[in-house]
Amino acid sequence: MIPASFDYQRAGSADEAIALLTEHGDEAKLLAGGHSLLPLMKLRLASPSVLIDVGRLDDLRYIRDAGDHIAIGALTRHRELETSALLAEAAPLLSHAAGHVGDPQVRHRGTIGGSLAHADPASDLPAVVLAMGGTIVVQGPSGQREIAIADFYIGFLESALAPDELMTEIRIPKLDVEGWSFQKFNRRAQDWAIVGVAAVRANGSTGVALVNMGSTPLLASGVVDAVKSGATAAQAAERATENTEAQSDINASVAYREHLARVLVRRALEESGLA
């Protein structure tokens, strides 16, 4: 399978990438690691006429302690998240989950920015960043803006990124983590999650987010409310499917996905230390 023809432009800087996006508008797609986009292009589900390669913007490839948050450059690869001592200490949920994205070959090339911007509800990292209450920093022709991750996902493969904006950084609040868990249920090790759950208990509150339970990555707001009101893990897990819109596919029916969501939320809460 070979993608449809496109013009290839290699951006030498973030500013150049934004200028190219401004010039080409909706016709263009950004290429980072390419591990979400290229499969779609090979299947001709995506046929951008211009591909703007930002994969060499090494100044957007970093993991830094920025005081009250950890700053992660959008071009940071999964392998770098997985092996970062700083993340293992400050955001263990993220480094652990990054080690479960795809397989080693994918993790060598795929980036956190690419994964978040692709807005696939079946991806692991969007739910992880949702559970941790991260912030997305984007840059456009009129400068930089910050978007709370809870406001970032709009629809299937659709985010709040404007066509002329580039994601530059992901900010993860530095939390006093009491417990965390990442539950990914799939049939083969490298597969997408049939359902996944990311949970983190920190600073007296609990964040829980769901993978593949709707058209976007979802916060499990019912579960979070239940925990806040003093529910046990088992009681809170009963509310796992509130506001979800699971789809059926070759791997699972809606009823099975909802069952998995309840089971995995309970496991995630228990592993995070909730009784």
Binding site: M1, I2, P3, A4, S5, F6, D7, Y8, R10, L31, G34, H35, L38, P39, K42, L51, D53, G55, R79, G102, D103, P104, Q105, V106, H108, R109, R188, A189, Q190
Partner: protein
């Protein structure tokens, strides 16, 4: 678009369409057909090569993305007539049946040991999660990788 990359130590320059996938560049432009195309959807790992020393699936990379990089394929592992220790270990432990997945398995396994020179059996199995063997010959593949790790750690001690 003109690209230049080092493949198995030899500089290769070609004028290609931007949509050319790295695996096709390697097989058709450079003529190295040891890298197989299996699923063509980045699931099976048959097309695994190294880009700047790290395993990657060449069916899901554009050749232009590897422009300026150093690429190693299965043909670049052996030193003349002397097989790479991983190839030797696959031979000695019968780490293959039909052989189709083997180039990718060997390349993934070499990258795995670069990152983790002394893996447990479980770490080898997890480390090869991106490579499928249609013959289900995993047992001897894992045995081969563990044998190579033992051999190499013995050699460096």
């Amino acid at each position: 678009m003109e690209i230049t990359m080092t493949v198995n130590g030899v500089v290769q320059t070609a004028d290609i369409e931007p949509r050319t996938l790295l695996v096709y560049f390697l097989r058709e432009n450079v003529g190295l057909t040891g890298t197989n195309i299996g699923c063509d959807t980045s699931s099976c790992g048959a097309c695994t090569i190294h880009v700047d020393g790290e395993s990657a699936k060449s069916c899901t990379l554009l050749a232009v993305q590897a422009d300026g990089c150093s690429v190693t394929t299965i043909e670049g592992l052996a030193d003349g007539d002397t097989m790479h220790p991983m190839q030797q270990a696959f031979q000695e432990n019968h780490g293959l049946q039909c052989g189709y997945c083997t180039p990718g398995m060997v390349m993934a396994a070499v990258s795995l040991l670069d990152e983790n020179p002394d893996p447990t059996e479980q770490e080898v199995r997890l480390g090869l999660e991106g490579n499928l063997c249609r013959c289900t010959g995993y047992h001897n593949i894992v045995k081969s990788v563990l044998a190579c790790a033992a051999e190499q750690s013995g050699a460096t001690k």
